[in-house]
Every structure is written in structure tokens, then in C-alpha cells.
């Protein structure tokens, strides 16, 4: 077993009576692409919010790069990148400005800052649109910009929460190509969530399937499929572990948010 970059120990979060994340125990190895799958309301986004220090756990603990996510949150923040599910680029600024602000917030050296930002934009194939307002970008461009923004400081661990939500297949392919290129270049570990089983199947080395806040299964896609039946698809695996209840508890606000995101991207 390789080196661990992320580890949770009975990580839990309640919202009132509701246990959204229930004793989560996962380890992510350095360099791997780890998928967190599960139906809406399974607790994926809440888990990611805790791991990215946005939300405090109710119980349990977690370590990212050896740092405690609660007591050493600032150290955790320095080594992670995060692309939220929602659109996080500021539409009222240019692509260049969006990146520049974050380059400065992460305290990157002033010398060569501009070049670094332009390089990051070029890497994402966006040098042409660097000085246009993000408002005029297409959905795929916005996502690429957000990814560029989140890796400016060369994080060891990148969190991608449904990075391809609302994108057409072509844009999706482009986004993944750039993510995987980045991963090779910076030797990044990736923890991602997605609802698109093909993506998870082809990109992830290991997958955890979450259901009602718990990990229902965790293994490589191949092993997960073999476990269910011969020639199973990942979709069948997903339904096998989570299909006992169709309508899971996603709030109105979450739904509105996802729809709005999809609309803006479309």
C-alpha cells in the first residue's frame, strides 16, 4: 500500500437530527484518482466540505497530508485545491483577474506572477479569452478556468465536486483531458464526485459508493463490478448498493442551485 494523503476516522456530520455523513472511514493514496459516488443527498458534498475545511465535523476526525482538518485547517488549505459543484468563477471579472486574485491570496511570489497566471491560462487553452469578462465564457470554458484557478498553487490534493455537471460530452472530454494533464504534470492526487458512471469507471483507480452518509462499498471499479456479477456495469453496481430508495433527501435549495448551475453552463 502506498503513502496515504487523506484519511478519515469515523468522520460524521449531523444537521440537527439528520445524520448526513455517518462514520465515514476512507483513505486516499498519494497519486490516485479516487471517486466518491452516490445518489443526491448521500453526503458526498458534505464530506467534501468537511475535508476542505469549510464545515466542521460533528464527530470523528480527518487528516489531509497529515494535518488535522480542524486544528490545522490553515495548513490543510495550503495543500489542497477545490472546485465546488457550483460555479465559482466571478462573472464580473476577466479570466485573468479571476486567477490573479487567487495567485495573490495563496501568497505566490510576486516575481513572475503575471507569467504564471498566463501560463496557467495557456495550459487550459484559454490565452485568447484571458482578458474577456467571464460572463461571456461558455460553460466548458468556465469550468476550465475554475480548474486553472484551483491548481495555481500546485496543490497535492485536488477536490472536484461534479466537475462536469451540466456540460455537453465535448466540453466534458476537454475538461477531463486538462485535468488529467495537470495531474501528470504536478503529480496530484484527485478526489472527485460525479454522477456519470462512465467517467468514474474510466478515470478512477478506486471508488467509494456512499449511501445515506455511509460507505456502502469501496474498491477498484473492476473489483466492484466483479463483486456484483460477471459483466456488470458500474451503473448496475451503483444501483445494487444504493437502489433501495429512489427519492433521497435533497432539499429545494440544493435542487435550485444545481439547476441554476446547469442553466448558467448551458
Amino acid at each position: 500500500m502506498g503513502e496515504t494523503i487523506l484519511e478519515t476516522r469515523n468522520l460524521s456530520r449531523y444537521f440537527g437530527e439528520l445524520m448526513v455523513v455517518d462514520n465515514l472511514n476512507i483513505s486516499v493514496l498519494k497519486g490516485e484518482v479516487f471517486g466518491l459516488l452516490g445518489p443526491n443527498g448521500a453526503g458526498k458534498t458534505t464530506a467534501i466540505k468537511m475535508l476542505t475545511t469549510l464545515l466542521k465535523p460533528t464527530a470523528g476526525e480527518a487528516f489531509v497530508g497529515g494535518y488535522n482538518i480542524v486544528t490545522e485547517a490553515v495548513s490543510v488549505r495550503r495543500i489542497i485545491g477545490y472546485v465546488p459543484q457550483m460555479l465559482s468563477a466571478d462573472a464580473t471579472l476577466t479570466g485573468y483577474e479571476n486567477l490573479l486574485i487567487f495567485a495573490k491570496l495563496y501568497d505566490l511570489p510576486n516575481r513572475g506572477l503575471k507569467e504564471r497566471v498566463y501560463q496557467a491560462l495557456a495550459f487550459m487553452g484559454m490565452e485568447q479569452s484571458a482578458n474577456r469578462l467571464v460572463r461571456t465564457y461558455s460553460g466548458g470554458m468556465i469550468r476550465r478556468l475554475e480548474i486553472a484557478q484551483s491548481v495555481l498553487h500546485h496543490p497535492q490534493l485536488l477536490f472536484l465536486d461534479e466537475p462536469t455537471i451540466g456540460l455537453d460530452p465535448l466540453a466534458r472530454k476537454a475538461v477531463w483531458k486538462h485535468i488529467m494533464d495537470l495531474r501528470t504534470q504536478y503529480n496530484m492526487t484527485i478526489l472527485m464526485t460525479t454522477h456519470i458512471m462512465d467517467e468514474a469507471d474510466s478515470l478512477c483507480q478506486r471508488i467509494a459508493i456512499m449511501h445515506r452518509g455511509k460507505v456502502a462499498a469501496i474498491d477498484s471499479p473492476t473489483a466492484l463490478k466483479a463483486n456484483v456479477r460477471t459483466n456488470a456495469t458500474l451503473e448496475e453496481v451503483f444501483i445494487y448498493y444504493t437502489g433501495d430508495k429512489i427519492d433521497s433527501g435533497e432539499s429545494y435549495r440544493d435542487t435550485a442551485r444545481v439547476r441554476r448551475t446547469a442553466k448558467r453552463l448551458g
Partner: protein, 282 residues
């Protein structure tokens, strides 16, 4: 399920080092982050200054219509000072407060979109995010100062053009608006929705305005209102501006008292907003 190999912490390849080794570099880092956030807001304003143009209408109406009428009827006792002179600094403070008190709306917007989450995942101290937004609110209010000065000159207000006086007006305008921006940010972080925020904003602006010395001296107020006016930061902003903007200055309190009250209000409100900032991600 993969279990941890041992109870020991996972191996770490990064060196553990405290982010800021000493208070001075911590302060420098904090200031740098504050400026970055303020810079971002100013860049947004540069891309779309239409809001500021709209905001210019209100102070113009107050000075030209309300000011000229009350100047003519001499209904408000302002001693030897013409009423329009008395009013101009008051309207400057009032209009910058109006700009500031709705500035917290941006955090609700950023929260709905997911922008604020990215800021909170960055290592920037939460206090610097709040202070940066507040300073930006202050800079935004400067546009009001320009408008008020232009109209004041046209209306024949006796303006003090000494560079130090102008610098003082600049500082007091930014400071006062920063305090009200931090206040606005605090409300936005508590109520979290546009509707509630707009409602509270509307309810608050007029009382803050009327319970200050912006359009009449405190001396003519009923006692209960005097008490409120003395606790209102806007009163001290107006007072400082009457000292600095006019020749001769006609402030009631010393500039230091005015400045201290505004600075304390800003520090307290920014601290509260900074502490509430992580709420934006939940």
C-alpha cells in the same frame, strides 16, 4: 474497505511549518490579503461603474432640492453657517452610508454561486476577507464624495481646499463607509437570503440617517433621539466631515473623538463579520 495500516498519522511529505513565524509577518500577510480582496472589488467596479452613476442621483436631489428649500426658509438653526453648508457634509456621510449598507449583498450573491467557498478554502485569514470587503465599500463611497463636492461648489458651499483637509475627508469617508459595510456584511452573513437582507437594509437606512446629525443639529432633537444620535457612528462621521470639509469647520466634537469612534466601530464590526464569515460556506 481500506483500513488505516496503523493508528499512527499517515506519512507526510510536506514540511510542517507555521504559516507566519512572527506577528509582524502575520500582520503583513493579513494586510496583503485585505488589499487583494479590496482590489478585486475595485476591479469589478471598473468593469461596470453604472451602479455608481445611479447612486449619484440621490445626493444631488437632497442637496439641490431639500437643501435649497431649507436654505431659503431658514427653518433649521445652524448659527452663522448657511444651511446648505451645514447640509453638504451630512449628505456626503448619508449617501456613503447608503452605498455601504447595501454592499453586503455581494456576499449573498457569492454564496449562492459558490464563489465564497473558494475564498474560504484558501489560506487567507477570514478577518482579511471581511476587512477587504469593508475597505472596498469605503472606496466605493468615494464616488459619492466627488459628486457631493461638485454640487457643493455649484451651490456656493464654503469648501476648505487645504490638501490636509481634503485628505481628512478622504480618510473619514472611507472609514465611515467601511464601518457600515462591515455592518452590512454582518447582517448578510446572519440572514443569508437576498429578500431578508433587502428588507432589513430598507428598515435600517432611514432610522440611522434620521437619528444622526446629518440634516439637523442634535441640539434641536427630543431627548430620546439625542440618546440614539450619540450612539450612532454616522453622527461622528458627519461631525468629522463638518470639521474638515467646510471653511471654517463647524464640528461639535474634536476630530480625534470622531476618528476614534469610527475606527472602533470599524474594528468591532469587521471582527464580528470575520468571525461570521465561515457561515457563508454552510
Amino acid at each position: 474497505m481500506i483500513q488505516p495500516e496503523s493508528a499512527a498519522l499517515p506519512n507526510v511529505s510536506v514540511k510542517k511549518e507555521p504559516f507566519h513565524a512572527n506577528p509582524l509577518s502575520a500582520l503583513l500577510g493579513f494586510s496583503k490579503n485585505t488589499i487583494v480582496i479590496a482590489e478585486m472589488e475595485v476591479r469589478k467596479l471598473r468593469h461596470d461603474p453604472s451602479e455608481l452613476v445611479m447612486r449619484a442621483i440621490q445626493p444631488a436631489l437632497w442637496l439641490v432640492i431639500f437643501g435649497e428649500v431649507f436654505n431659503a426658509v431658514k427653518a433649521i438653526p445652524t448659527g452663522n453657517t448657511p444651511y446648505i453648508d451645514f447640509l453638504a457634509p451630512g449628505i456626503l456621510a448619508q449617501s456613503s452610508m447608503f452605498v455601504a449598507i447595501f454592499s453586503g449583498m455581494s456576499i449573498i450573491w457569492e454564496r449562492d454561486l459558490g464563489i465564497v467557498h473558494k475564498f474560504l478554502v484558501s489560506p487567507a485569514p477570514r478577518g482579511s476577507l471581511a476587512l477587504g470587503k469593508s475597505v472596498a465599500g469605503g472606496v466605493r463611497a468615494l464616488s459619492q464624495a466627488i459628486i457631493v463636492y461638485i454640487i457643493a461648489v455649484i451651490l456656493g458651499v464654503h469648501v476648505n481646499w487645504h490638501p490636509l483637509a481634503l485628505l481628512g475627508v478622504l480618510i473619514i469617508t472611507i472609514l465611515g463607509a467601511a464601518a457600515f459595510s462591515a455592518f452590512s456584511l454582518t447582517i448578510a452573513l446572519i440572514v443569508k437570503t437576498r429578500e431578508r437582507f433587502m428588507g432589513i437594509g430598507q428598515v435600517l437606512t432611514m432610522p440611522v440617517f434620521f437619528a444622526s446629525s446629518a440634516i439637523y443639529p442634535i441640539s434641536i432633537m427630543p431627548t430620546w433621539l439625542k440618546v440614539l444620535a450619540h450612539g450612532n457612528p454616522l453622527t461622528y462621521q458627519v461631525d468629522a466631515l463638518r470639521n474638515l470639509m467646510l471653511a471654517p469647520g463647524i464640528g461639535t466634537y474634536s476630530l480625534w473623538l470622531d476618528f476614534s469612534v469610527l475606527l472602533s466601530a470599524t474594528v468591532v464590526l469587521v471582527t464580528i463579520a470575520g468571525a461570521l464569515y465561515p457561515r457563508a460556506a454552510t
